[in-house]
């Protein structure tokens, strides 16, 4: 990762890149959520990340921990639905893991990311294969950890993004066991999970901005 380490400015770039990707893919997320959900994932995430960016623009939060916490709180307060508490908890747990560090090295960032993903599990109780955002996030943190030893930061984050994308794609044949897609039973098979899709955008944004 960034030679000089990941500071608040880098995280700011990451989150803004995520917001931009969400806005760009809003219609796709809604379409995916129409097939196996209630057609609001695009609107939910766009609304939340607009609020997050507005907070970033305010510039009140300084330091990685404060910035991640602010992002988590804002998502909890503005997204609603399943993804609000899940993405909110993700960033809040990252904030806790980061503490008051000013600059994160690769290992610290990876550990924070893992803490975030563990927060998603703590909140949503998803397991691998349930066809949720966890199926994109879990492979990403595993790939990041594995790559951290050998590759450079950029390479490690790219590997994580690739793993998230593969995880996202792998949700298509799955039968959902969590969230509202689970109500569809077998009819959920053959559709890509919207939350895994937004989660892959999150990891890709990290690769694009923190590498």
């Amino acid at each position: 990762m960034a030679g000089a380490g990941i500071d608040a400015a880098a995280l700011d770039r990451w989150i803004r890149a995520f917001a931009a990707a969400i806005t760009e893919h809003e219609a796709e997320l809604t379409r995916l959520d129409s097939a196996i959900g209630d057609a609001d994932h695009g609107a939910n995430m766009t609304r939340g990340l607009k609020a997050v960016v507005a907070k970033l623009d305010d510039g009140a939060a300084t330091g990685p921990g404060a910035l991640l916490k602010q992002t988590g709180m804002t998502l909890v307060s503005t997204v609603g639905g399943a993804s609000g508490p899940l993405y909110g908890t993700f960033f809040l747990r990252m904030a806790t893991a980061v503490g008051d560090t000013d600059t994160l090295d690769g290992a610290a960032f990876a550990a924070a990311l893992r803490a975030g993903v563990e927060g998603v599990v703590a909140r949503g109780k998803a397991e691998a294969g349930d066809k949720t955002m966890y199926d994109a996030l879990a492979p990403a943190v595993d790939a990041l950890d594995a790559a951290l030893g050998g590759e450079d930061a950029a390479g490690a984050l790219s590997a994580a993004a690739a793993a998230a994308a593969a995880g996202r794609d792998a949700t298509t044949p799955m039968q959902a066991r969590k969230g509202r897609a689970s109500y569809l039973g077998e009819r959920s098979v053959g559709h890509q999970d919207p939350g895994a899709t937004s989660a892959a955008l999150l990891v890709q944004a990290a690769a694009d901005t923190l590498g």
């Binding site: 129409s34 209630d38 609001d40 609107a43 609000g84 508490p85 909140r123 969230g179 689970s182 109500y183």
Partner: protein
């Protein structure tokens, strides 16, 4: 998309402002999207809070008032409201006897209300008990799903727990009634058409002219299975059969039969369905002591209906008959 709206992004706020204008008995906090009975908090009474995504009107905001809810939080269309709203509303309706959260069993609703309850415990000292409704028999294999959805029974829980709170019961007692109602109720729904989420701009799913969806929820989501268009008589069978298979409704007190419209189906058809359902129940030896027919928990403009059956006893019957004064349900007051 053909709707009587302005900008899709404003639909919830504008509808709330319409509710505020139309109902002087309600007080609406537009910033937090909360509908309160205007005299909240009622000192000494357990406060009842519910909430959920918008698009199910009159649920929940239309059920705020004496004898039912003290407040309701409105989320975006089909999107659970957020913990901040629930926390604010919890504070606003606590009259010293604690607050009951009535939560429909959806991942989003449950997690947001959970976080609100955690915050309430940490920040306010208001005692909160949550009851989750999960009456939808369309969801089988609860082990492999997010569990049964909360649908029609939610309306009945709000009415009956509201009456229990009015009788002066404590928080545990009101929660016990709410749980008992949820345990004693079952629902099943179907759709003739999809609906269009305003922000999405097109129907959530396509349904050919000659097919219907059986086992839908209330968020415009497709159901468990698609079957050919059938007469009301057969649709009634498809809805009632899994309800009766799931629970015994031949208890002495009789049942409450609730035939609910999904938003786009007119009363004429709901009454035809009521007739079919009540005939099936009569054959099955299930007595009907109370009825509710109309669009009470809807899915925007979806055409279709759901059937909810609740086993009554003397106590629940008394609570049902107790006065209620809300925009969506009113009698005795």
């Amino acid at each position: 998309m053909k709707k009587l709206i302005n900008d899709p992004a404003d639909v919830v706020t504008e509808a709330l402002s319409g509710i505020a204008a139309a109902h002087p008995d309600l007080r609406v906090d537009l910033e937090h999207k909360i509908i309160y009975r205007s005299d909240a908090p009622v000192q000494g009474k357990v406060g009842l809070l519910s909430g959920g995504g918008s698009g199910h009107e009159p649920l929940h905001g239309g059920f705020v008032g004496p004898g039912m809810l003290d407040a309701a939080c409105a989320g975006e269309v089909f999107t659970s409201p957020v913990p901040d709203q629930m926390l604010e509303a919890t504070r606003g309706i606590d009259g010293g006897a604690g607050v009951l959260h009535i939560v429909k069993n959806y991942t989003g609703d449950v997690m947001n209300f959970e976080m609100a309850a955690e915050l309430a415990a940490a920040d306010t000292g208001v005692e909160v008990v949550s009851v989750v409704t999960n009456d939808d028999v369309a969801v089988q294999d609860s082990l492999y799903t997010a569990g049964r959805r909360g649908v029609g029974v939610t309306v009945l829980v709000e009415k009956l727990a509201g009456a229990a709170a009015d009788e002066g019961r404590d928080l545990a007692g009101v929660a016990a009634i709410a749980r008992r109602v949820n345990d004693a109720g079952r629902s099943m729904g179907m759709a003739l058409t999809s609906c269009t989420v305003p922000a999405a701009g097109q129907p959530t799913f396509d349904l050919p002219e000659d097919e219907i969806e059986i086992g839908i929820g209330i968020h415009g989501e497709p159901g468990r299975r698609r079957v050919p268009l059938a007469p009301a008589r057969e649709v009634a069978e498809m809805l009632v059969e899994p309800i009766l298979a799931d629970r015994d409704f031949t208890g002495d007190g009789g049942t409450l039969l609730f035939v609910n419209g999904m938003g786009g189906t007119p009363m004429l058809e709901l009454y035809v369905m009521y007739r079919e359902v009540s005939q099936i129940l009569a054959k099955a030896g299930v007595g009907v002591a109370r009825s509710l027919v109309g669009p009470y928990i809807t899915s925007l403009e979806m055409a279709g209906c759901s059937v909810t059956l609740l086993q009554l006893d003397d106590e629940l019957m008394r609570l049902w008959d107790a006065p209620v004064r809300t925009p969506g349900m009113r009698w005795g007051a």
